[in-house]
Symmetry: D2
Subunit: 369 residues, 4 copies
């Protein structure tokens, strides 16, 4: 084991890999991801090795697969790990091997300038600097994943929660709730959420949790609108048949909404979100945009509407994960309906195919290594 683990301070044989290699889904070339055998990573002093017991696929992973978001060849993809601590770096304290944990999609160090300033997602001061898994370091669609800055990122799972219950915490729950939080929703607010994919659905649940008194959601898929209702939507707008801006302005009697959350990443929904916003309102943007993003000057009141536009990258770190799991533990929200499909890691390429094509009412796919 010498090559694998640099420290033996806290190692329980039961959780250690019996082999030196593992299966991992890597980016091969645009359009191709494939399962490969890769070395199980060595553990540095501030790292932890997590044996992955459950993970999932994110829309971002599909962008990576398609080559739309570039990562290096051979990188293991995936940033939503649920698992068990297999080994701990020498400088990591307060955890034990064998402990069930999750880590956020974003793994801030906690100790750089931006982290100390509270901007953990932009760790290191580079845009998206806190997003490492499946982006700048190997991710978690694999049997093992190395967690950097483990002291800041290992979040123990309460015994009362299953792996599947916490599977949304690392990314979409944190992101969706983050959209509601960044919108600074107040009791009595009317909130619109554009798109009810997994992140939009979590934004809806988050808006409910923050005290929005009326939540209007928009999507083109009836199935997603139905799930939205169970998570807190009061009004649903089917964008496949209705103009969402017109519908929302009618529903609000011309007043507009206090907070609009964009959870898709299209210039058109971004603009629509701005168009339904009351003067003084906040557009909370979660989408990853491509193409040309324009601020329509009429909706933007030529810059004089006291509008706020705020973007949020999935908050990470173990404290964030603890808080999210706490809401699950106490029954504030139940996101299990989002797991619509389950695959073993061996068949993950099939799962990508299903998820990428949004077939069969898929919301999220649970992957078991």
């Amino acid at each position: 084991m010498a090559t694998l683990i640099r420290t033996n301070r806290d190692v329980d044989e039961a959780f250690l890999p019996t082999a030196r290699t593992m299966k991992a889904l890597v980016f091969a070339k645009p359009g191709v991801v494939e399962l490969r055998e890769k070395p199980i990573p060595a553990v540095g002093p501030t790292d932890a090795l997590m044996r992955v017991t459950l993970t999932t696929i994110c829309g971002t992973d599909v962008h990576i697969l398609k080559g739309e978001y570039p990562v290096r060849e051979g990188l293991t993809i995936g940033h939503e790990p649920v698992g068990v601590i297999a080994a701990l770096g020498s400088a990591v304290t307060g955890y034990r091997v064998g402990q069930r944990v999750i880590a956020g999609a974003i793994t801030p160090c906690g100790q750089c300038g931006p982290c100390l300033d509270g901007v953990h997602s932009q760790c290191g001061g580079k845009a998206m600097g806190g997003w490492r898994f499946g982006n700048t370091i190997d991710g978690c669609q694999a049997e093992f994943v190395l967690v950097p800055s483990a002291q800041a990122n290992l979040a123990p799972i309460p015994d009362t929660l299953t792996d599947e219950q916490v599977l949304m915490c690392p990314d979409i729950m944190s992101t969706g709730f983050g959209g509601a939080e960044s919108g600074k929703i107040r009791i009595g607010d009317t909130v619109a959420v554009f798109a009810q994919g997994p992140i939009g659905l979590c934004a809806t649940a988050g808006a409910r949790l923050r005290g929005a008194s009326r939540i209007i959601v928009v999507d083109r898929l009836a199935g997603r609108l139905a799930v939205a209702r169970t998570l807190g939507a009061d009004d649903v707008v089917d964008a496949s048949t209705t103009d969402p801006v017109e519908a929302i302005m009618t529903l609000t009697k011309g007043r507009g909404v206090d907070v609009a959350i964009e959870a898709l990443g299209l210039p058109q929904t971004f603009e629509s979100a701005l168009r339904v916003l009351r003067p003084g309102g906040t557009l909370s943007s979660l989408g990853v945009y491509s193409g040309k993003l324009t601020l329509p000057l009429d909706a933007f009141a030529a810059g004089l509407g006291d509008h706020t536009i705020v973007t949020t990258l999935c908050p990470g770190g173990h404290e964030r994960m603890r808080r999210l799991m706490s809401t699950l533990e106490h029954g504030r929200v139940d996101l299990r309906p989002l797991v619509t499909h389950r695959y073993p890691l061996d068949r993950i390429v099939e799962a990508y195919d299903l998820f990428g094509a949004q077939r069969d009412g898929v919301l999220k796919v649970a992957i078991t290594p």
Copy 2:
């Protein structure tokens, strides 16, 4: 009617008093309130006359009755009006006589320095300056009440809500929710609420609405603890049999709570609230204190614990009322269980007796003029 209404711009005979006097409950002397015939008030340019259709009794009213909070002899008591607009001052626009409205217990002018600065409850810059009804001007335990700064204070009731559904908005819902809001509760917070009288119960509902993931409530009455569970409490502590500080520290495994809300007004509960607070936590105080209020230095970390203590006087104004009614309208919370008793105005003195003695499981008493 000339002496009654200075303007006839917008008067509908149907809503006007047919007599020049009305019944009103006035403070006579310490220990004595009595129903008297008083002139129906004249309407100045910025006032509105409201015909009261429902009101209630507040703990503060009992303090007034007892002479503990001094008001002038002959003052009409009561600050929680539900009713119908009977007449509008000449400078008041956008309303119509006959409209169903409420007004908050606090009636800010909206135009003085503190109001323009957002501190509406301290209207005019004097402590509690925004509290006028039943304090510095005639209140609403009467057939009619004059609403000052009507433009800022008349809040139309949505058609879908009954008078009884909105009866808690003017004071205890606004106060209790205000306690949760001032505590700056975040998703995932653990919150303790001390005392589950009507305001404490609303604080519990408010904490739930803001996303607290765990709410621990304290009271000495089993009935109130039971209602608390229906409004969002996860854990209840019966202070008649258990030490609340010890119980809460055990429940939180020594961590303490993120936010503690005091909703009783005793030095002892204030101190307990501080004792269960984690470093960096917030004590949100709603109680009206008498006696000696001390900060225990150990719990206060000698001033080095990054604690915040914040007090909140019931937010008023029609926008606040609109927001509160909006949460009711969309089913976010249902406070009807708080109305445990109903009396006609004629028998309000009996109602005081019941309410003051906290007999018969009373929470709030609806009074119908």
Copy 3:
């Protein structure tokens, strides 16, 4: 006087007009403003009549003159009044005729939903709803101006300050400082301000006042950059010879700025402001934009940079004015250098010509009726 003043509660003959008409600069047609004789306005119950003793011309007025911002024919232009109370409406209390006052460019009512919610500039809920002077009602480039919602808008001038000292308060000081405030500048921040016209200069002074430790300003005019240094700029970038984005990134060693303030209103400066922003930073926008406003996706990190974009319309109301005058009174800032030219009202058309062409180093022109 009967036609002029509806109430005689508080009228001092000395401050009343001796004639029934006054000179006022009105918008005639695109490209033409002209001095006309107009009736002195009648005073309603919530109004005040102000005799204007000093006013000035704003960039917005030039847009109106050119027909770029449409107002109705015959409207009196101007929104920056310094003067003396000539008459008070019957419902206005606490002021006296003869009192020296200013009113903000934005005159919120204080009593509508948005005002009670703290969004005073969007009074009434319509975009820019609080901007009335010279937009939806007659403005102050005239001998008299009627102040609406006078109770919320008359701000007494401290005796120690001259008219000229407070001339910037109604608009550009409030706007510029507002840009610094909305940017939520913290001690130790590096701030960039794009354009150093009157508003940009005030934003620079405001950033200094909020504790920015380093202020980098951009303009194309050496004279303005020189004034900027006196108001708090640490580094100046001459955009006529240097690429501002490159210069700022070099000055900050690639880190970017914490807050960028846009004070011009061009898509190009808006984009540049975004390009120099660190991840997690705030773009505080003051400009009035025309044309196409685009968010460059690289600078915007495709929506994942935790950026905030906030726009601010000049805060108004007497409390705001009091605060601004207070900073002048105690010597925190001196904006007199911004008054570069002085004209009588009779020659205001000449003043427009000078100001519109930005001739002769003009910053602001004081106009005396």
Copy 4:
């Protein structure tokens, strides 16, 4: 050197100790501190060893000396280090031996729950948990000091600043400014600062830096009041001859102040701070209290004044230090006048005597090892 440094990754002989022991001022018993020879500490993976080039004595150290604040016998005292990196732990990156640095008095880990939540001073979740130097671990009144969580705490000193210029950053500047920041001072606020010792003086400078338009300071020593004027005080109240509450209420014409900062730690000044606070105002408390701390109910409006009381423990971490040094670098404030005396480490016991007795106009004493 093997016993001294566990890693040799980044060690420059020039900065390493030539001996294995060093001089350090330790707490011996109540009333006695003494210079002893102690081993130079060994460097763990996340530590750094700093050679101290300048340090100072804090009021808290005097409490420790007197036995009023208990620490273990033999502990090295002092928490305000300026120095040079002598050695770096194996897990610490981005620094180099020989680099001039400071570390804050508070050394948060950045990675525990409270740190990730932004409450760095309460690191670990225990009250004052972030205060380690001279409290729970050896401090810096010594030739060397071991910096824990070095990655989060080493703050490089800009070349343009001398050691003496940055000597106030680790504690009193961070604390005093923190008092102004926690008070949420806004442009135009009137602020009172109670006591103008070193921390109160920094609070005054901080209030100025945040845009307070009027600053009223209170002290009993004319010399301190004179220094206060140079740091931003507008009005000074000599508490040895004047009742501060009365004086401040007169100065503010009965309105009171928006923010009151307590910088002494006496129940009496705490109460006075509350007594001069306007309804809705904030008491920002910096003092370390002993004795009985009471909230006077009249000043506290019986809990209905919308008051906020907030306490602040000196913010630490390298980002905070960078921000503070940045304000010095750009000339926003000059705290050198606070260094009134200078002693070599050998004579530090004398320095304690002088500082403890507040003789000779002493504000802060620079100690050179």
